[in-house]
C-alpha cells in the first residue's frame, strides 16, 4: 500500500544474486589459500563463556589466545597459520556444547577441539569428537570419568581428576584440621566423585565422615546447611562447591564466624573464587592446580607478564590450562607431522610439556594409559591479602601427579582405537 523503497530495491532476483555472490565469496579465499598451501589450521574452542562458569571459561580462552599468538610467531603448525574459532557452550547445556562441537568440526573444519570446564559437557563433547576422529583436549573438566571409565582414544585432559585432588589434599586436611570431616557437596558428577575420592583417601588416614549434605547446583543460601554442619561438631567443614557456589558458601560461613569454631577447607580451590571473596573469607587448606608464583620455575615470570599485558591481571590455573591445552595441539602436530586424528593422538601419548609451556617445578606429561596429564599439585592455604591483592595462596607442599593419581589401572580407562 505505502511506497517502500527497500522493497523496490530488494527483489527476489537480487536476493538470489546476493546469495550466489556470498557463496562464491566463501569459496574463493579458501581455494586461493589452498592453492598457496596456506589455509590456516583451526582450533575449535567450545567452552563456557556465559553462565555460572563464564569467568573460568574466559580465562581458559585467554590462555589459548596467548598460545595461538606464540605458535604463529614461531611459524604456525606445519608451516600454516593457526586460527581459533570460538564458540560458547553455555555453562550447563550439554545439547548446546555438542551442537557447537559438531558445527566446529563440520562447518569450520577444525583440526582440534578444546573444552570444557563443565565435566558433563566435556564428556558429551568427547562422544562427538571420538566419532569424528578429532583430537580433543579438555582443559578443565575434572570428573574422573573423562580419563577414566568414559575415556576415548582421542581425548586428553590437562586439569586433574577429582581423585588426584583428593589424594593430594587429604594428608594436609588431617594434619591441619583433624579427622572428623563434614562435606558440603554440589549435587552433580563433579561433587559426587570428589566427595567419594576424599572419603576413600581420608579412610586410609583414619578420617571419618561426620556428615555430608548434597547441595543443588546454583544454591545461593547456605545458611541452613551451615547450621546443620555446625551441629555435627566436625573438625573441618569441607566445601566441594565451585564457582559462585564456593563464594556464597564460604562467605556465609565466615559471616557466621564458623572459621573460629572449626576449620573451613576443601579440595579444589581457584584464584577466581578467592578474588571474589572478601579478604576475611580467604581461609582454609586447599589444592591449587597451578599457581602464578612458585620459586624455581623457569619461564614463569615471562608467562605471568605476557598475561598481565593482555588482561592487567595475573594468570589463574584456568589461564594456564588453556595455554597448555592449545600448545599441546601444536606440539602433537609437530611430533606427528600430520593433522590426522589418530596420528596426533598417538603423538600425544607420553608427550612431555617443555619448561616454557609446562611452567611447573617438574615437567608435566600426558600418561599414555589414560591420557591424563601428570602435573604438580599445589597444596597450601588461602591467604587473606587485602582487597586488591594478587597473591592469595601460600603453597606449603608440592605433590607430583603420578603420586596423586595412583596406578593407571585404577582409573578404569580402557582405550579403544579406531583402526586397532
Amino acid at each position: 500500500m505505502s511506497h517502500d523503497p527497500s522493497k523496490k530495491k530488494f527483489s527476489r532476483r537480487t536476493l538470489v544474486k546476493a546469495a550466489a555472490a556470498a557463496g562464491a565469496w566463501q569459496l574463493v579465499p579458501r581455494a586461493v589459500a589452498r592453492a598457496a598451501g596456506g589455509e590456516p589450521v583451526r582450533f575449535g574452542f567450545d567452552d563456557t563463556l556465559t553462565g555460572t562458569y563464564a569467568a573460568l571459561g574466559k580465562n581458559t580462552l585467554i590462555g589459548c589466545e596467548l598460545a595461538v599468538e606464540q605458535i604463529n610467531a614461531r611459524g604456525g603448525i606445519l608451516g600454516r597459520k593457526v586460527e581459533m574459532v570460538v564458540e560458547d557452550s553455555t555453562s550447563g547445556d550439554a545439547g548446546t556444547a555438542v551442537q557447537k562441537a559438531r558445527k566446529l568440526i563440520e562447518r569450520d573444519h577444525v583440526s582440534f577441539i578444546l573444552g570444557n570446564v563443565n565435566s558433563a559437557l566435556a564428556l558429551a563433547m568427547g562422544q562427538v569428537t571420538a566419532d569424528r576422529g578429532i583430537l580433543h583436549i579438555v582443559p578443565g573438566g575434572h570428573t574422573d570419568a573423562v580419563t577414566g571409565t568414559a575415556c576415548h582414544w582421542n581425548v586428553f585432559r590437562v586439569c586433574n581428576t577429582t581423585q588426584m585432588e583428593a589424594n593430594a589434599v587429604a594428608p594436609q586436611l588431617v594434619k591441619n584440621a583433624g579427622k572428623r570431616w563434614y562435606y558440603i557437596t554440589p549435587d552433580y558428577a563433579f561433587g559426587h566423585t570428589l566427595q567419594a575420592g576424599l572419603e576413600k583417601a581420608g579412610q586410609k588416614l583414619g578420617a571419618v565422615k561426620a556428615g555430608a549434605d548434597l547441595t543443588p547446583l546454583g544454591t545461593t543460601d547456605y545458611s541452613s546447611y551451615l547450621i546443620k554442619a555446625q551441629a555435627a561438631s566436625p573438625d573441618v567443614i569441607i566445601f566441594l562447591t565451585q564457582g559462585a557456589d564456593m563464594i556464597n558458601a564460604l562467605k556465609q560461613a565466615v559471616q557466621f564466624g564458623l572459621e573460629k569454631r572449626t576449620h573451613l577447607a576443601g579440595a579444589q580451590q581457584e584464584l577466581e573464587a578467592l578474588e571474589g571473596l572478601p579478604p576475611e573469607a580467604r581461609v582454609g587448606t586447599w589444592v591449587f592446580e597451578w599457581y602464578w608464583k612458585q620459586p624455581g620455575v623457569p619461564h614463569l615470570d615471562a608467562f605471568v607478564s605476557a598475561i598481565r599485558k593482555k588482561t592487567g591481571k595475573v594468570p589463574t590455573a584456568r589461564t594456564w590450562q588453556g595455554y597448555a591445552a592449545a600448545w599441546s595441539c601444536a606440539l602433537a602436530a609437530h611430533a606427528a607431522k600430520s593433522l590426522d586424528g589418530v596420528k596426533l593422538a598417538r603423538a600425544m601419548q607420553g608427550l612431555k610439556l617443555p619448561p616454557e609451556i609446562g611452567l611447573m617445578p617438574q615437567a608435566p606429561f600426558y600418561r599414555a594409559g589414560d591420557h591424563q596429564l601428570m602435573p604438580t599439585l599445589y597444596v597450601g592455604q588461602a591467604q587473606a591479602g587485602t582487597a586488591g591483592s594478587e597473591d592469595l595462596f601460600h603453597v606449603s607442599q608440592l605433590v607430583q601427579g603420578p603420586e596423586a593419581a595412583g596406578p593407571v589401572e585404577d582409573s578404569g580407562c580402557k582405550l579403544t582405537w579406531p583402526h586397532a
Binding site: T50, T220, I247, E272
Partner: protein, 289 residues
C-alpha cells in the same frame, strides 16, 4: 534435633523475608500490568553492581541509598520505551521481551564489570554474629530483616494511604474503570513498574552483601520469587509476603531431613498449593484464571 529444626525455622524466616522482598516487586508489576517480569533478576543484578561502583565514592550506606532509585529510574525508561508497547498484545509478548531483557542485562553486567565475581564490602560492624548460640544471626542479616520489614511496611502504607497507592490497588482490580474515572493509566503503570523495580534494586544491594557479586546473581534468585507469588496467591501482596516466608522456612527445614531437596521442596509446595487451592493461599479465585 529439635534445636536444629527450631534454628532452621528461625533462619528460614530470615531467608524468606528476602525472597518476599523480591517477590513483592514482581507481584506489583504482575498485578497491575499483567507482565511477568523475567528481567526482575537482571534489575536486581544491575542495582548490586551500581552499588558496588558507588561504594568507593559514597560508602556502603550511600550505595544502599542511591543504587535502588537509580535502578528504578532505568526501570521507568524500560517500561516507557519497551514494555508499554506490548500491553495491548498477548501477555506472551511481554514475557518474551522481559525474558530477552534478562539475558541482555546479564551480558551487559558481564561486559561492563567482567565475568569474575567481585568482593562486595560490608561494614565490619555488620559482619559478626550477635549471639554465640544463634550464630546465624549476624548483624547484617538482622539489619536485612529490619530493612525488609521497613520496606514492606512502607509499601503497604503507600498502597493504603497515598493517592498513587489507592489508584494502583484500584487498577489491580479494574483498570478500565480507573481509566474512565480520569486516572492516567500510562503514568500509573509506569510509576508502579518503577516501584516494583525499586524493590528489586533494594533486594539486589542486600543480596550482594551475602552472596558473591557476579552477573548471574539475579537469575539464581528469581525462581523462588515466582514460587512465592504462586504459593501466596496471584493478586495478593500479603499472600506474596506469606509465600516468601513459607518457602524460606520449608527450604530450611528440608535441609535437616533431606538436604538435596531444599530447592525441589519449593516446587513440591507450589504443586501442592495449586492442586488444593489453585488461586494460592491468600489469592482471589478470579485472578488465578
Amino acid at each position: 534435633m529439635a534445636q536444629l529444626v527450631f534454628f532452621n525455622v528461625f533462619n528460614g524466616l530470615i531467608v524468606g523475608a528476602f525472597y518476599a522482598l523480591m517477590a513483592l516487586g514482581l507481584s506489583l508489576i504482575l498485578n497491575l500490568s499483567g507482565v511477568i517480569n523475567f528481567a526482575h533478576g537482571g534489575f536486581l543484578a544491575i542495582a548490586a553492581y551500581l552499588a558496588y561502583t558507588l561504594i568507593p565514592h559514597v560508602g556502603f550506606w550511600g550505595g544502599l541509598l542511591l543504587a535502588p532509585p537509580l535502578t528504578a529510574a532505568l526501570g521507568l525508561l524500560i517500561e516507557r520505551f519497551l514494555i508499554r508497547r506490548l500491553y495491548r498484545r498477548d501477555p506472551l509478548y511481554g514475557l518474551l521481551l522481559t525474558f530477552g531483557l534478562a539475558y541482555v542485562f546479564e551480558d551487559a553486567t558481564r561486559y561492563l564489570w567482567g565475568a569474575q565475581s567481585l568482593p562486595y564490602p560490608i561494614p565490619a560492624s555488620l559482619t559478626t554474629p550477635i549471639s554465640s548460640t544463634y550464630f546465624f544471626l549476624t548483624g547484617y542479616r538482622v539489619f536485612m530483616v529490619f530493612l525488609v520489614a521497613a520496606a514492606v511496611g512502607a509499601l503497604f502504607l503507600v498502597l493504603k494511604r497515598t493517592r498513587l497507592g489507592i489508584r494502583i490497588r484500584a487498577g489491580t482490580h479494574d483498570l478500565e474503570t480507573v481509566s474512565v474515572l480520569g486516572t492516567n493509566v500510562r503514568i500509573l503503570r509506569n510509576l508502579n513498574f518503577g516501584l516494583g523495580i525499586y524493590l528489586a534494586g533494594l533486594a539486589g544491594v542486600l543480596a550482594a552483601g551475602m552472596l558473591g557479586l557476579e552477573p548471574t546473581i539475579g537469575s539464581s534468585l528469581i525462581m523462588p520469587s515466582f514460587v512465592a507469588i504462586i504459593v501466596g496467591g496471584l493478586g495478593s501482596l500479603p499472600g506474596t509476603l506469606l509465600g516468601g516466608l513459607l518457602i524460606g522456612v520449608a527450604s530450611g527445614v528440608t535441609t535437616v531431613f533431606f538436604p538435596s531437596a531444599t530447592e525441589a521442596v519449593m516446587y513440591v509446595m507450589m504443586g501442592a498449593v495449586l492442586l488444593v487451592r489453585p488461586h494460592g493461599l491468600l489469592g482471589e479465585p478470579g485472578r488465578a484464571q
